[in-house]
Amino acid sequence: MLELCGVRLAGPVLNGSGTFDAIAARRAFGDALLERFPFHAFVSKTITLAPREGNPPPRLWETPAGLINSIGLPNKGLEGFLAHDLPQLAELPVPLVVSVMGFSRDELARLVERVGERDEVAMIELNVSCPNVETGLVMGADPAETARAVERMRPLGAKPLIVKLTPNAADPAAVARAAAEAGADAVSLINTLKGMALDPRDSRPWLGGGTGGVSGPAVRAIALEQVHAVAQAVDVQVIGMGGIASGRHAADFLAAGASCVAVGTESFRDPAAGARIGDELRALSPV
């Protein structure tokens, strides 16, 4: 049986934070979604202390084999999440990881404390890497800032802490090492790569947020290299993601040193992609 940060999982396939809204999906698919839930653990969309509307549209741009998004972390805020979303996410048949982001270490600490009190939550992911908010990059782009944040969060509760790393750093392995030495239980990567598209009509930025993050098969080779480099650099578990669309791709990330993988943009093409990738992976490496 696989364990992630000491939590038992029935398999290694997670979703990337912000790429699957299980509550909305249940409105579209009903309880059939739960009968063959596509992931072995579910990672929530990132929550912040205050509610956020997110970035103005347009929020999407299709690239060759990928997507640029500029969503901007819309969410109900901590209290809205605890009151409305958490009870519904607790009905999912897999362990729950809650992703949190703070605009300061104080904010992040408040989120970690409050979320960490809840029995429904198995693990907490610190999103220090979202490229679509003003200050999100600052923490995760710098090893010392990341270490300071993790050191502050570590004593606040017993829940395992996963640090979501940005690929938009000079040396992601150095940030991973700093996070691990500061007490992170696992690291996950990659978040999206910064990207931009221009409106063909007037050559001005297409996305309402100006710039966005690139995901999908277009980033897979970059992600694989970063996962490999990080896995070499740390002893904690690594969750690898970036353009995974098949069991073969997932197997590559596991071979590069990841303990688990996450599926993101491929779920947009098929909500059952996570289940298919899990099946294909099992067929490649029968236990």
């Binding site: 579209a28 698919f29 009903g30 103005p56 549209p57 060759p64 819309p74 779920s267 909500p271």
Partner: protein, 271 residues
């Protein structure tokens, strides 16, 4: 942030992409009408709901090495398990879908979203369509009956061939006057509502048309439901990409729409 409780004409979708077979793909003036046999999907989608479509083969490798993501299409009609979609080639995704031929595989996810709600009490339904946006009104007319008023606007006579999907004799306006009246479909709507304002308007079409419908119906205090469109990656609420600003904040068209009450929408200048 979250949608308030409101009527949800919604048939649930199976939670996985499936593949159907194209049974016909015919030119319909400037459009293509693609019908697909969908034995694994529900036989009772609600008018106004949509599907995410992509071809089984050669999805990718077109212009700019796209398409990559599936494309959202309201269904025009369902008959004997065969779904009909109206396609106009305007980009790499729609171009590929327009190239589909009989026997090819079409990947589908759906039906998705919330469809048209019933007309308000004691009102007559008025269906207003522009261009490719006429598609979700075809199945609505199938449901409401042939005596519903149908007003259609197109660029030209070639596009106005799309009107042949409707029963009876819909009123037609074209931009160039090559078929029907040389007018905007909203001109037809104004005349119709002036004659009898006890109506519920159901409209789908390009954004400027929908804005004109919204304004007109607001002025005349006529209830209106608008089927909107936005760039959409997933169709089931995962990507948060397809939001429109409303007086309740941003709503995701894929799970809270695509049909929205006009009174929810902000003026286009404020969107």
């Amino acid at each position: 942030m979250s949608a308030p409780p409101r009527a949800e004409p919604r048939t649930l979708a199976p939670p996985a992409r499936r593949t159907g077979r194209v049974t016909r793909a015919d030119a319909l003036g400037a459009y293509r009408l693609v019908t697909v046999l969908d034995p694994d999907g529900p036989a009772d989608p609600r008018p106004g709901q949509f599907y995410m479509l992509s071809s089984e083969e050669r999805w990718g490798g077109g212009g700019d090495e796209r398409p990559y993501l599936p494309r959202a299409f309201s269904y025009a009609r369902i008959r004997n398990g065969e779904l009909g979609f109206l396609v106009e080639a305007v980009g790499p995704g729609t171009q590929r879908l327009a190239e589909l031929r009989e026997g090819e595989g079409l990947r589908l996810l759906g039906p998705l979203g919330i469809g048209w709600r019933p007309p308000s009490d004691d009102t007559r339904p008025v269906l207003v369509g522009g261009g490719i946006g006429t598609a979700p009104l075809v199945c609505l007319q199938d449901e409401l009956g042939a005596d519903a008023t149908v007003l259609l606007g197109f660029r030209s006579a070639a596009h106005a061939e799309g009107a042949s999907l409707f029963h009876g004799e819909p009123a037609i306006a074209t931009d160039d006057g090559s078929r029907g009246r040389a007018a905007l479909v909203t001109d037809l709507l104004r005349e119709d509502l002036d004659r009898d304002p006890s109506a519920t308007v159901f409209a789908c079409g390009p954004p400027p048309m929908l804005e004109a419908v919204r304004l007109l119906c607001a002025q005349l205090d006529v209830p209106a439901q608008l089927a909107l469109e936005a760039g959409m990656a997933c169709g089931f609420g995962a990507c948060f990409g397809c939001v429109v600003p409303t007086n309740e904040g941003y709503l995701r068209l894929c799970v809270d729409g695509p049909v929205l009450d006009a009174e929810l929408l902000l003026p286009m200048a404020a969107r």
